[in-house]
């Protein structure tokens, strides 16, 4: 059985992942659309910036977040003065770190949906009386739903696995910022907690496996509902 610290870490991991993915979906869809449909310098730059967290060392991301969101930082100062919110050493900071690190996976999946969408269908919607916004919500979004679901699930799994940026940015505080990987890290550092470490490793593997399996099943189901079979997708 799990001890209270492990249960707390598990709950916190789930909670932070849900928050991180939730705040990412709308910007993720918008940015995926821009980099899929638009050409030019702005779209190219955006494309590179979005994918940076995928290749940068997590500690670099954590440190940059620390600089940006500290009470003297550009964003941290703004949040503190305007909304009286400080994200330092809190779950909010952990959610931001998870969101930033998982964002490229979300955007890549959704972008793939936009890339493979048949834009002739869009023309048919316009001629049938749909404005561009109407068409986006009534035709394009439902048709790329499998990609959005895949992106959400992959991003969720990535959030659960987040370690480097989080520990650099918001430290390792039980009950506040100590997610599963951080709890596991702590367990590996203290003598006599090997059993706890093994339990956390097993939970991590199961969670990762279940997340990816859910992503596959949901995407296939939605694909089938929308397109009949996966070959049409």
């Amino acid at each position: 059985m799990l001890n209270p610290i492990e249960i707390e870490a598990l709950k916190l991991s789930g909670f932070i992942a849900i928050i991180a993915v939730s705040i990412s979906i709308i910007p993720g869809v918008i940015i995926a659309w821009i980099i899929s449909r638009k050409n030019g310098l702005f779209a190219s730059l955006l494309n590179m910036i979005v994918y940076l967290p995928l290749v940068l060392p997590p500690v670099v991301i954590g440190y940059l977040l620390l600089l940006l969101f500290s009470n003297n930082g550009i964003l941290g100062g703004f949040l503190l003065e305007t909304f009286n919110i400080s994200v330092n050493f809190s779950w909010k900071g952990a959610a931001i770190a998870a969101a930033v690190v998982s964002f490229p996976l979300l955007v890549r999946s959704i972008k793939l949906g936009f890339d493979t969408f048949d834009y002739k269908i869009e023309e048919a919607a316009y001629i049938n009386g749909a404005s561009k916004i109407d068409c986006f919500f009534s035709i394009i979004l439902p048709q790329i739903l499998p990609s959005i679901i895949t992106g959400i699930t992959l991003a969720f799994a990535r959030c659960l696995a987040e370690f480097g940026a989080t520990i650099t940015f918001v430290s390792n505080i039980p009950g506040e910022t100590q997610t599963l990987p951080l709890a596991l890290y702590t367990a590996t550092q203290i003598p006599g907690t090997e059993e706890s470490a093994i339990r956390l490793v097993i939970i991590s593997i199961i969670l990762a496996f279940v997340s990816v399996a859910i992503a596959e099943i949901l995407a296939k189901r939605t694909n089938k509902r929308i397109l009949g079979n996966k070959n049409n997708g």
Binding site: E123, A124, N128, G129
Partner: protein, 361 residues
């Protein structure tokens, strides 16, 4: 008030420029035809607003949709054009019924009577709850036509709607299109490269060549070979002529067709006497003799005169143009035969017609 429609525009797409000008004011079916790449489909896209012309003027049902001079360019979703594409372009995440109602919901209030009328004409009542991916090609195209019609368009444009369908389904949809035109009193622009389809369906034909209107008129006016030859695939040369049923010979199971006073014998046709027929004669099925041949199985041996000879040394053939009343047919013979028979313009010859096919009325 007559419904006036005017399409006049100039557009440049890459290295292809198009300069189109035609008008129509009735609710008939107008066919637009031409070789692939001639700019047929561009016309549809310009009318729909999917392509913005460089300059020009588009008016449908007395409403200006585009005018470069007055800086008017109504967006596609406000143009009220019904469009059916080569591929059905249905929305695969919706049922047939929701596809049908997509345009209707965005353009007009729901009218059950009209809905029923349209789905009855199209014969799609039994498939309303089906998913799009479970439809056959013909069904999908009928749903696509229904979706366009229910959006209450001022004009229906069909861009090669029969491509990829088998002959049986093609005929079914052609009949449906005629029914729609008759029952819903809506003008239809029918874009197709197929002469058979056009002759079957259209009252007026517009031929597009290299982005321009080459000729236009009723079937009677443009049926002569010269005008149609421009988009006739060179390896299957044929002539189209028009005649009326003269009589039915029940003893020999024949029908006799009168083409400007000349009688052609065909297989039995079930239509009434005096009904108009369009006849397709493949050039390879017409042989030439300088004397009337005897003891021969061919029934249609017509006395005629050579009006023109077109020689193709590359292919070793000659196209012999023959007068048939005011109409013209073409025979394809080898250059060897041309020399042997010493054929020349204005020479009286006999055309031996091996096969006749009826392609329309």
């Amino acid at each position: 008030m007559a419904r006036s429609n005017l399409i006049k525009y100039e557009t440049i797409l890459g290295d292809f420029s198009s300069n189109i000008n035609f008008d129509f004011s009735d609710s008939n079916i107008i066919a637009i035809t031409g070789l692939s790449g001639s700019g047929k489909s561009t016309i549809a896209k310009v009318i729909c607003g999917l392509i913005k012309p460089k300059n020009g003027y588009i008016k449908i049902n007395n409403k200006i949709l585009y005018s470069s001079r007055d800086k008017i360019n109504i967006p596609p979703h406000q143009r009220k054009i019904g469009m059916v594409f080569q591929e059905s372009r249905l929305f695969s995440h919706m049922s047939v019924q929701n596809n049908l109602l997509y345009g209707q919901r965005r353009n007009t209030v729901f009218d059950q009577k009209k809905f029923d009328k349209i789905i009855n004409i199209l014969g799609i009542k039994s498939i309303l709850n089906r998913k799009i991916f479970n439809l056959s090609g013909g069904e999908a195209q009928r749903v696509s036509i229904g979706r366009a019609l229910l959006s209450e368009p001022k004009i229906l444009i069909l861009d090669e709607p029969l491509t990829g369908l088998d002959a049986q389904r093609q005929n079914k949809i052609l009949k449906i299109i005629k029914d729609i035109n008759k029952n819903l009193n809506i003008p239809i622009l029918f874009i197709s490269h197929s002469l058979e389809e056009i002759i079957f369906i259209a009252a007026k034909i517009i031929i597009i060549e290299n982005g321009k209107v080459a000729t236009q008129g009723s079937i009677d006016q443009i049926i002569s070979y010269q005008k149609l030859s421009s988009f006739n695939k060179s390896n299957t040369i044929y002539s189209l002529i028009k005649g009326v049923i003269h009589s039915h010979d029940k003893t020999n199971s024949n029908t006799i067709i009168d083409v400007n006073g000349i009688k052609l014998i065909t297989k039995p046709i079930s239509d009434k006497i005096n009904s108009g027929q369009i006849i397709k004669l493949f050039s390879k099925d017409i042989s030439i003799a300088t004397k009337i041949p005897k003891n021969i199985s061919i029934n249609n041996i017509l006395e005629t005169k050579i009006t023109k000879i077109k020689i193709s040394k590359k292919n070793g053939i000659a196209e012999i143009f023959l007068a048939l009343g005011k109409q013209q047919i073409v025979s394809e013979i080898t250059l060897f035969s041309l020399q042997k028979l010493k054929l020349k313009t204005n020479l009286k010859v006999y055309a031996l017609i091996k096969a006749i096919s009826i392609v329309g009325k």
